[in-house]
Subunit: 431 residues, 2 copies
């Protein structure tokens, strides 16, 4: 159990300065001024997608209000120099073969998916890859579903299939599934023949708003999450919001925890929008869901463009993750969904921030309330123990992402009273 929070700890140990509230606020937050006339951020460009089917095309600048139409088609660009790529968001995008095919390199494709998603979407994606495109051949590998299979043994099945299929460096891997599939397929693409192209087709809200964007790929080690991996960017991310129609309620709620995160750490207007629209999100109102995905991707793209390899700012995206990873490792992968652990971890971070006097009563209550309403934090406390976090602290300074100041502000810091951390752990943990 020694390393369950090492990912975070590693970030915490890096040489970056703490992210001050001032810095966090100074970072451009695309929706922080709820005016349709605000200039578009140079880092983040929302532009129209060349889609035949889109009934709605996003304006050149992000807008605060969700669109009236249900079929949103938006492009969010992730600006990383020669590794830049677009995120396409819209309803029915898998029915547009040209869009997907325009990002396929070479003539060979390996779709990596799992036993849950394959029956739902593998045929459709294969059609989209090959429709009017006879030169492309598609192989697929179907992995068992779940975080507990995000390991080296399962990853090797991807390499086995790629090698048996005699794929060469010009092939394209396609990740079709949630965060686990995206992380594994991405790392497999990074490592196969020292790197081949890949495309993300996330089918869970969690993956659509967070894990498919930004190029973090990898697998777990028995002693810690995401210990083995690569920073490796896809050719594009294709978010067909229709895939959420088949998502279980619990998975939907899990994804909403990450949406809430963006509001808390850097985008107050987005948080306020969520407070007003949570019931619409839970009811899968298409325009509300599409807007939540778009704003989440815009926030993530901005952060990643500034700090691709997490030397500082990007660490703030890990709000709730130190506690959350400890929960996941302590309980064993898969007992809770990732977003459920993050929701609980976020409540703990807010509790500690509140105890430190860094946020007021009102904000703390709003955090607890929205995560409660989102149903992500349905698992109550006392289901895990604090031993792992304790060990990390004992090793040295444990830096945490905590809320500080008004809504939308956070810090990444080790400069806190250890007793307050103990109080939070004591309040939420059995031992």
């Amino acid at each position: 159990m020694a390393a369950s929070t090492s990912s975070l700890l590693a970030a915490a140990s890096s040489s970056c300065a703490a992210i001050s509230p001032r810095l966090a606020r100074a970072a451009p937050a695309a929706a922080s001024v709820p005016s349709p006339s605000r200039p578009s951020c140079p880092i983040l460009r929302a532009s129209s997608v060349s889609s035949h089917r889109s009934l709605f095309v996003a304006s050149a600048a992000p807008t605060m209000q969700p669109p009236a139409e249900s079929r949103v088609s938006t492009v969010v660009d992730v600006d990383l120099g020669d590794r830049s790529y677009p995120i396409y968001i819209g309803s029915g995008l898998l029915d547009e073969p040209d869009l997907l095919q325009s990002h396929v390199h070479g003539k060979r494709v390996l779709v990596v998916t799992n036993t849950t998603v394959a029956p739902l979407y593998l045929e459709k994606v294969t059609w989209a890859l090959t429709h009017n495109n006879p030169n492309v051949s598609v192989d697929s590998v179907i992995l068992p579903d779940g975080e507990k299979y995000k390991d080296m043994d399962t990853l090797m099945k991807v390499f086995d299939k790629a090698i048996e299929s005699r794929l060469d460096r010009r092939c394209t891997f396609v990740a079709l599934g949630g965060g686990v599939i995206g992380d594994m397929c991405g790392f497999a693409a990074a490592a196969f023949l020292r790197g081949v192209n890949f495309i993300q087709i996330p089918t869970t809200l969690m993956a659509q708003v967070d894990s498919s964007v930004g190029g973090k790929t990898g697998i777990n080690h028995p002693l810690g999450k995401n210990m083995i991996g690569a920073f490796y960017q896809p050719q594009c991310v294709l978010v067909d919001t229709d895939t959420l129609n088949t998502l279980p309620d619990r998975e939907l709620a899990s994804g909403i925890a990450e949406v809430v995160k963006y509001g808390l750490i850097r985008d107050a207007p987005f948080f306020e929008w969520q407070e007003k629209n949570m019931s619409a999100l839970l009811a899968r109102d298409p325009s509300a869901v599409a807007y939540a995905i778009k704003r989440s991707c815009e926030n993530k793209a901005e952060v990643v463009a500034q700090d691709e390899k997490e030397s500082g700012l990007r660490a703030t995206l890990n709000l709730g993750h130190t506690f959350g990873h400890a929960i996941e490792t302590g309980l064993g992968y898969g007992a809770w969904l990732h977003g459920e652990a993050i929701a609980a971890g976020t409540v703990m971070a807010a509790d500690m921030s509140h105890r430190l006097g860094w946020i007021d009563d009102s904000l703390y209550k709003r955090v607890v309330e929205i995560l409660g309403e989102s149903q992500a934090s349905h698992c109550t406390s006392r289901d895990y123990d604090s031993g792992d976090v304790d060990k990390k602290v004992a090793d040295g300074l444990l830096r945490l992402i905590l809320l500080k100041g008004p809504l939308g502000s956070c810090v990444f810091t080790g400069d806190y009273d250890r007793k307050v951390l103990d109080e939070t752990l004591h309040a939420f943990c059995d031992s």
Copy 2:
């Protein structure tokens, strides 16, 4: 057996144009004009090393004649923008703690070595890392020795040790050993926490002249060599030529095959120097060995600086490797040393080039003669079968690195008469 030459085939299938003889000759070959007054190549800078012990400091431009002194200390820079790094070459460099310590990031070091090298040099390297440097702590992991252990199971031992030792992103991995250790440690460093710093301390001639330079890292898959890996550059390469004193003769000869390669593909004067100095190399004459390492590293650094990820030119460094990898896979890893397989593969490539009429009788004989004299190609033909190469060819165009034109020229091409390939396979293989 399907994929044993996929690495090469992958390169062969990439979009680059064939390297024409003209292009190969146009590439700057640092020693192609054996004059001490030639201007130094802008890509390749040989400069003096700030070493206390060096009795000889290389001049600013590469020279053709090996130095009279035995203790050479040279720096070859690998110019890759923000991933540039120096190669230090000299006798007794492990006795200079400052040199090594200046490239260690953070306070934690993991030395990756094997059961053969650890008893010889682990204590010395640990001393060099920690002498007058009490803040640094060193862990080590000792892997079994041999190409057959260059696999995922063995790689996991590196991750296990790194995680058990609670290393964070600021640690440094040190590869202490031959090519297998360098490739595995490099890939482990690339993947651990999505990338940590690492240093190469190659202890075999093969690793010193080839595999430790250029950032190719990875492991084998049961179906093919180097199928899983990363392009990942070290902080520095430290070549202490004294480590060759403990190298078995067969390993020394294996490394000389790669030295010969540089002469054949791009550096005629270096090949001519080798013809005159092979007996000195085999006798481990320190200045001859140091010069061979220096010129090899200079050649490799030039090629890598121009084509880091092997989209074209870098493929020429694989002379003899398509045949050689097929031999290694066919016989099972470890039956032959890598350089022995490459030597045999180079003779096959020269034979095919000769049959095609691309090189004259004289050059073909010189290739056979020098590889025979180097004792790398002690294993005779008919020890392997051609089935794997046949399969690759059946799949489509198999591009090969072949000699063409005068000494020092090669092509990377699929434009050859298939019958001639068959003749070569028939001449050297059982089936």
